[in-house]
Symmetry: D2
């Protein structure tokens, strides 16, 4: 694994817990990579990895490594991941997959050409309530989808220091768009289908910031549905409000990440608050954000073992690429003032 | 008063109750006008009007009439209202003020030229929780506004008969846009300020419908804030979900018409659920939708009496006109695929 | 009517609005009675009564009066109401019906003997969501009831002045028990049935208070259900939290007065949030606390007209008496430390 | 560890994850014990234990074992736990600690006499929102506590098979009281203080059941506060509704286990919905039910290492015993119909 901070912690924890879910493969934590040797060693011990290295090339060359997990900075997604795939390792890379759609496309093609299993870290697909939403869409219980609206609102952007890496173009690529909006876009594609056009305004409100801290967009889907997308790091009172609502001809669902064990479901009548947290624990014993990674690994390890994806529907590098296409179209639309196609 | 159905009932009830709030003038219910004599007579008796007529010209010519209330079909807003204003009567006209921005402008100028008090029926301005939101904006407690998002969602559109007047262009002018969207646009202007540009998609989903049943839009305000607006009559599970959220540099508020006695308030930290229902009843004894009209009349009658508007900030015909400009820009943007200025 | 403050305002408003609901009789506001002539005259004008008097005997002797409404202090419930009933007037008396169960019984018998229509002002029976709850119970959709839990929590008790009449035994009789608990007890009886035994602790927390500011109780119903009842004026953060939940063998409902247009309904599965506000306005246009009185008068006037009670199920003086029996048993249990029968 | 089903899974997962939280000791999973060899071996592999045995005496005699975790049936709590303590092993035993208060007392004294660290598995003490509630109480921010109300409602009792072990006296001891009520009682003691008296009705509604499926109780605390406690497995629509509310002279808090990352906080005014999920993840990334065990082990391992309890305030065997005293008093009160002292 490359990366040892927030994402490194989340991935390590999930790799240790996935055994309980009965994954087809059992992971060995071979090697963790980072830049700062001292902090890295502390992380290695705390997160339970056997070895640590400051050079990812060693991991790519290591025969013991079967899966390369990239949880490093966005700017360090493409090169190591492509190298790992070319070395025959399966690859899981965090989102946003790359700094641009072009770079994401290169990663996708490289992984495809290498014939390895590739996954983009859209972990929210594995939230049981989101999976239930998708099931209701695919079974036809909601009818044909007419509207999708999503917003991902946080508030820490007001107080972030000027040199926060989240706002550094060379590290992060984009701001709220790639960090938060990418999740909403992936859920839009996952639940409704491909996006045909976007019309957007991307905005940096805080003086001195080099990357966007918010955007608003309307979207049209290939299937005719309309929608709104919005993300902001400047919404006071909102902590991690990743919410969406989906209206079909027969019913609706609504979701909020801060209450991620609940799905609001309308079968045409009043919304019910359904507790949906998978089958890890008995009814009503909710799971946490970290558990979405465990389900992600259950899916990935089973896919690698060729046993079929359980739970299904994880995001591949193609999904990472198609999400990046929408992000790029949103940026173009904001500049042109017109609708743009991804 | 012209009109005796939904709006006629709401206005009559409020005219009878406004006395309790200590309005500077006490209304006499002189005459009600409608087309169908039989139904009209039943309504007259039930709603408490002294006389009924099928010809609004009689009301306009009636010296006893000091205030002309137009709660009739949208297509019947302009002519009688202008005639009443020219006859020196104060005028209150329901929203949308007219079938187009041009017609609304004519009404506004006519009322101004006649020197009468004119009001557009944006009753949601008089919801105590909305007034609290405005107070928090104007006092600076929320700081400068950066985002506004509003949605007005209903679901009856799926089941409405093909000949429902709401979808008849000659009667209603527009569909969800003028009926629902107009409220959101007025609240946007009331709380944030003038809208500089819109980018929108207006859509008719139900086959055979002659007017829009939904729209999505992004907006930019003169003060730099960005926002999203959306309305639909096709959102299953939503009954009268007129909701908005407003984020400022210091705090936020969120509101939902279905829980119209509550305002969610963040002073930068976690949202509080504040019960705000005015001072009619003791704390916690909530008011209803119909009571917003009573407050509207309190404001209007005090304005007519020249005692100053209490509560302040009602919508004039200018507000009705400026709202119509935004509606027209939304329609244009949907056709052009580009940003449009109101 | 006797009384012109809080209850006087609520009753006057409802008497003026009930016409819209199509009541079988149309009320004339003949005379209002109070002690302070100056304030009374102001109230008379504001509330729309033809005459004012400081002597209720005049009203009782007035042939024009067909219905005597007692919204005065608790200590003034019995004598004028009994006199009015004996004079052949129909009577509506606010809750708690009397200062003790014995006094309530006398009122009930007097009204019965006089053959007049008698009603106790348990207005929450007329909340549409409460009526829906009762309908679900009576239709058997919830199955047999096993649990009922109610709490009525406010917080103003901390800050009330020492001489507040709510805590004056000679005026109010009891404190939180008769004021708030009476509502919960009436709803318990209305929805579940007669209470067989109570076990309670009644407590005065604020030093110097002469009446209780809270109580807790467990109850057993004749039909075998168990329950908890609680009321307090000392629950910080609670404004008018009159809430109950009812569990049956097949389903459950939950209600909160602060969101009185909603009923949480479980048919065995997840709770749905059902908007239920009667048919005054279109769906989603909620009613307010004051409107419950209008429905109360619709019921009462129809009952007086002999047209059958629509909506049904109002509280009679017998209900006021039986509620008082439970209140008395709660007080006895708190003293004895044992279960007591009403 | 003894036990390999629900509790075995929860404990194993937490023992594997506690490393991430920086516990002073790192657990080795030495041996797991159960009755059915086949199922046990599957569990051993899935849960990550080195060895399995069907005889807990082996574990007690095993020098490698430093901590004995008892997650087995209630009837198997006392003997193995006492034996382990006497063998010098630290002990963690699930709740309810024993089948009766007497048995619990024996366990407590045995652990004390052996000088080992002892813990009762009241994991809800380690929910970050509950810890915040306790901090607000102890810091005096809520003032003096006047009311505590708790209910723990589930609904699976209607559909459980007649031979479900939860209703078998020889295995479970008590029904809803010991299983659900014990949690509420522990939280009451933890947050408010010792309970002076109870008045309760314990009831078995489902015919043929040998243990209670619900109870209701009022309580008085040593510090003068009053409260209600209730638990049921028969509350349709409720899944794992472990909720409490606490009112003080200055403020209040309210909590619901189904939304365990939220604490409703009133500082005297309107309630705020505060997201409180500890510091494992960034703000707004919630934890799950399983994570409460990880915090429990962080506490326990630090206590064993003598580094002080971080987080503090776990439940000892004394707490398990004092909770059992209250349970026994509730049973006695239900039989006597009078107040009983624990």
């Amino acid at each position: 694994m490359l990366g040892y901070r927030f994402m490194g912690t989340a991935h390590s924890r999930a790799l240790g817990a996935v055994r309980q879910l009965g994954a087809a493969l059992e992971p060995d934590l071979v090697s963790i990579c980072g830049r700062d040797p001292e902090v890295l060693e502390e992380a290695r011990a705390r997160l339970g990895w056997a070895e640590a290295t400051t050079d990812w090339h060693e991991q790519v060359a290591d025969d013991r490594v079967g899966l390369f997990v990239n949880g490093g900075p966005n700017a360090l997604h493409a090169e190591p991941t492509i190298a790992a795939a070319r070395a025959g390792k399966h690859v899981l890379c965090e989102k946003p997959l790359a700094l641009s759609a072009g770079e994401a496309h290169t990663m996708w093609r490289a992984a495809e050409d290498a014939g390895v299993v590739h996954a983009t870290g859209f972990n929210y697909r594995f939230v049981p309530a989101v999976r239930l939403a998708r099931k209701l869409v695919q079974s036809g219980e909601l009818g044909e989808i007419v509207h999708f609206r999503a917003r991902y609102l946080q508030s820490w952007g007001w107080d972030a220091p000027p040199d926060d890496w989240h706002f550094d173009p060379s590290v992060a690529g984009t701001g709220a768009l790639g960090d938060l909006g990418a999740h909403s876009i992936d859920l839009a594609r996952h639940l409704v289908g491909e996006i045909r056009s976007v019309s957007a305004t991307v905005r940096t409100f805080v003086p001195g910031r080099r990357l966007d801290d918010s955007f608003v967009a309307t979207v049209e889907f290939d299937n005719g549905a309309t929608g709104t997308l919005e993300a902001s790091r400047l919404a006071r009172g909102r902590i991690n409000h990743n919410a969406f609502e989906l209206n079909g001809t027969k019913g609706s669902v609504a979701y909020d990440q801060e209450r991620m064990n609940e799905l609001q479901i309308s079968d045409g009548g009043a919304f019910r608050t359904v507790l949906e947290h998978g089958d890890w624990w008995p009814p009503g014993h909710i799971i946490g954000w970290g558990d979405t990674f465990t389900y992600e690994y259950l899916h990935l390890l089973n896919a690698i073992a060729g046993e079929g994806a359980v739970p299904p529907d994880g995001a591949t590098f193609e999904d990472g690429y198609r999400c990046a296409l929408v992000c790029d179209a949103i940026l173009r639309s904001s500049q042109s003032g017109a609708k743009e196609m991804p």
